[in-house]
Amino acid sequence: MVTAIFWALVKFALILGFMMTNALVLIWLERKVSGRIQRRLGPMRVGRPQGWLQTTADALKLLFKEDLIPPGADRAAFVAAPMLMFVGALLLYVVVPFGPQLIVRDLDVGVLYFVAVGGLTVLSMLAAGWGSNNKYSLLGAMRSTAQMLSYEIPLVFAVATVTLLAGTMSVQGIVAAQARYWFVFLQPVAFLIYLVALLAELNRTPFDLSEAESELVAGYNTEYSGIRWSMFFLAEYANLLAGSAMAATLFLGGWSGPWLPPVVWFVLKTYFLVFVAMWLRWTLPRIRMDQLMALGWKVLVPISLVNLVATGAWVVMR
């Protein structure tokens, strides 16, 4: 009993550490990538080489800022929202397979768990938007709710296609099922749909309507500052990493790969997908709300549905 609790705590600390350091690295990487794409240098001053300590310095600064709660705010919702977002991001890492043995818990319903816990983000955004007592926050929260509910469907369809092929929902089982072919080669359409829906789920450009700074100030986190704001920020990047890790698991063969140790392969694949997400962010402009809904319901849902049915038929006939 005591040892079980001890090991659970050790795993918790490891996952938390992994998530925090990677979120900091990813924010720095995003700023570097955006800079280079715009032919700037990005952060260069804090930490040699290439300003790698910049986000650490920013996080420290944010820690010492005043804790502001706007008057008229729903205090409980306002305070709970960033923590919920952070915990939601942390929970995703329970089923991320870093290696053959390196996983917190290989749940039988691993993929389903991942999608379900990912849905927590909507709740925290809605709580933040409602609790802030600010029209821009509420508008941003409404938008992201509509967006995430719409894009959850093609996301689940794409994941279900992989589940059909693998015949299991356990992430390790899915990695094992890709021993011969990665699913990205068998299911390129599902892969693309998963990536697009993932970007929308994460509220990243071109789908960042919930924080559209040109219209909504900052969307659901307009009223947040200091440590609460940085929790949102870190959780956003932790979600990006978890989503990319799951994409690598479902479509790119997870930790499998020649020569290098499994963990290295896993991190390489995940970071490649993270880079693609950043690359897309600095390539595409933000789309309108009606375009967003049209893309979700008229393109992604029908295509992913047809793909799912066709895959199901193929699996049965085989």
Binding site: I37, W279, T283, L284
Partner: protein, 170 residues
């Protein structure tokens, strides 16, 4: 929309995303155009117009004849010329005793150098002119007089004025 039109539209959208990503990837791998300013500095282009300076003659004295054309031409009233009348070989002429440019007022328009009939004013390529207080922005003869222009300056007095494009380099 016909089914074929639908497929074409989706394919078009995907194609444009990929071509856009190609452009950003080219930018990503190209050299940044920005500089790390205090450590790295950009060389001013030939003919770059910075602060006005007084050009010295061969003996290191200003070529200025104290005619005050620059003072009159200055739209910001930044220039003050001080002179006394002296007699030399039985002829009266002006002798320059002081020349100040208030760099807090100067707008670096170059009208003074253009107005100068004796080629005694030129625009130097210096552009880092910030100071901590207003007094140190008032430049006297000591800071205005430069010996030898090296052909770097806009409105260079040693050269024939033939318009921007026709100016000799170096």
């Amino acid at each position: 929309m016909t089914p074929w039109g639908y497929v074409r539209e989706v394919a078009d959208a995907l194609g444009s995303v990929f071509s856009g990503m190609g452009i950003t990837l080219r930018h990503l791998v190209s050299r940044p155009v920005t500089l790390q300013y205090p450590e790295e500095r950009r060389e001013p282009a030939p003919g770059f117009r910075g602060r006005p300076v007084l050009v010295a003659d061969g003996e290191g004295k200003p070529k200025c004849t104290a005619c005050r054309a620059c003072e009159r031409a200055c739209p910001a009233a930044a220039i003050r010329v001080e002179s006394v009348v002296v007699e030399e070989d039985g002829r009266k002429r002006l002798k320059l005793t002081g020349y100040t440019v208030d760099m807090g007022r100067c707008i670096i328009c170059g009208l003074c150098a253009e107005a100068c009939p004796s080629g005694a004013l030129a625009m130097a390529p210096d552009y880092e002119l910030a100071a901590a207080d207003r007094e140190s922005l008032i430049y006297g003869l000591d800071r205005l007089l430069v010996r030898g222009t090296g052909g770097q300056m806009a409105n260079d007095s040693d050269q024939e004025m033939v318009g921007r494009e026709g100016r000799r380099a170096g």
